[in-house]
């Protein structure tokens, strides 16, 4: 994939990319921000999933959990994408060689599809989000799928530094 590598090299070589990579404080501060922002967004998704599974906050209706947390999940994600984008800018050529990085983005795509399927199919079935102690099976499966996929995203993200290439 010479073209992709060349593009990644070019991204990394830009003024901003080099500035982030070479600054003593900027890079760790952006990484810390990425970590805190994902603790809010992905973390609140984990709590939502545990609610869908009926493991926590059983006395709060599911619809209320989904709608109440949504603005905080989305603002957290905005910060995750901005900080993640800046990290990529600084080390594009390095990270694209890591299998963990590629799998991380595949799993993020899968998590997005799962969320869309939940939002537009499962949650719209009659009685899906009813105020009942035990939710329909489809809702529980969606929660379990989300919990699993986001855990895989976190694992892959942490492994980028440990698995720099395929060999």
């Amino acid at each position: 994939m010479p073209t992709i590598a060349a593009i990644a090299d070019a991204i990394e070589a830009t003024t901003v990319g080099t500035a982030i990579a070479e600054s003593r404080y900027t890079f760790p501060i952006i990484e810390g921000t990425h970590l805190i922002a994902l603790s809010v967004s992905v973390g609140l998704i984990f709590l939502t999933d545990l609610r869908l599974l009926g493991l926590i906050l059983r006395h709060v209706p599911v619809a209320r959990v989904l709608h109440g947390l949504r603005p905080y999940v989305l603002s957290g994600f905005a910060l995750v994408f901005v900080s993640g984008g800046l990290l990529f800018w600084a080390e594009a050529a390095t990270v694209i060689k890591s299998p963990a990085w590629i799998f991380k983005f595949a799993f993020i795509g899968l998590a997005g599809l799962n969320a869309l399927y939940f939002e537009f199919v499962i949650a719209r079935r009659p009685g899906a989000l009813a105020v009942v102690p035990v939710l329909p099976r489809g809702v529980k499966y969606a929660g379990l799928a989300s919990l699993t996929i986001w855990t895989l995203v976190i694992i892959c993200g942490r492994l980028i530094a440990y698995l720099p290439n395929w060999s």
């Binding site: 994902l38 809010v40 973390g43 976190i154 440990y162």
Partner: protein, 157 residues
């Protein structure tokens, strides 16, 4: 017994040898548990904080919302501390002589004290004064965010 003796002793234990001599993916595994624990801790803290500020789940009382979330917060804490101790045992001197690690441990101590003695008590009260709720939220969030920033800095100092 000086701190060097203690570090030497930790390094000489079979557990330390096993961790430091094994595949680097073992440490990566500890790191993953550390991050997952921290995510659970922070998300639970944010959830309780949002309720304390009256931004979510206002039809439930603060203690009703805080009960499950507090349990999850300490589960996350246990995961982070457990994996953290294993990483420390693997290379005690690497961490002990890192200034970011010292800062992190100090902030961690403060955060745990505030969590157990202040935030936890405020979140367990039915009707709390708004200024008390806001102070607890601000103090706890700042301390735990600072712990994670200092933790991230360990790899760069």
């Amino acid at each position: 017994m000086s701190s060097v003796d203690v570090l030497d002793w930790i390094q000489s234990t079979p557990a330390s040898h096993w961790i430091s001599k094994s595949n680097h993916l073992l440490i990566a595994g500890f790191q993953v548990i550390h991050v997952m624990g921290f995510i659970l801790l922070l998300a639970s803290l944010v959830l309780i904080s949002l309720r304390l500020l009256g931004l979510i789940f206002t039809q439930q009382t603060v203690p009703q919302v805080a009960k499950d979330a507090t349990r999850l917060l300490w589960v996350g804490f246990a995961m982070a501390v457990g994996s953290g101790i294993l990483m420390f045992i693997g290379s005690p001197k690497h961490y002990f002589y890192n200034p970011a690690f010292d800062v992190k441990m100090l902030l961690l101590l403060l955060a745990v004290i505030v969590q157990a003695l202040f935030f936890g008590r405020v979140a367990a009260t039915e009707m709390q004064k708004p200024w008390l709720a806001r102070t607890a939220v601000a103090l706890s969030l700042v301390l735990w965010f600072a712990v994670s920033m200092a933790g991230r800095a360990i790899g760069f100092v």
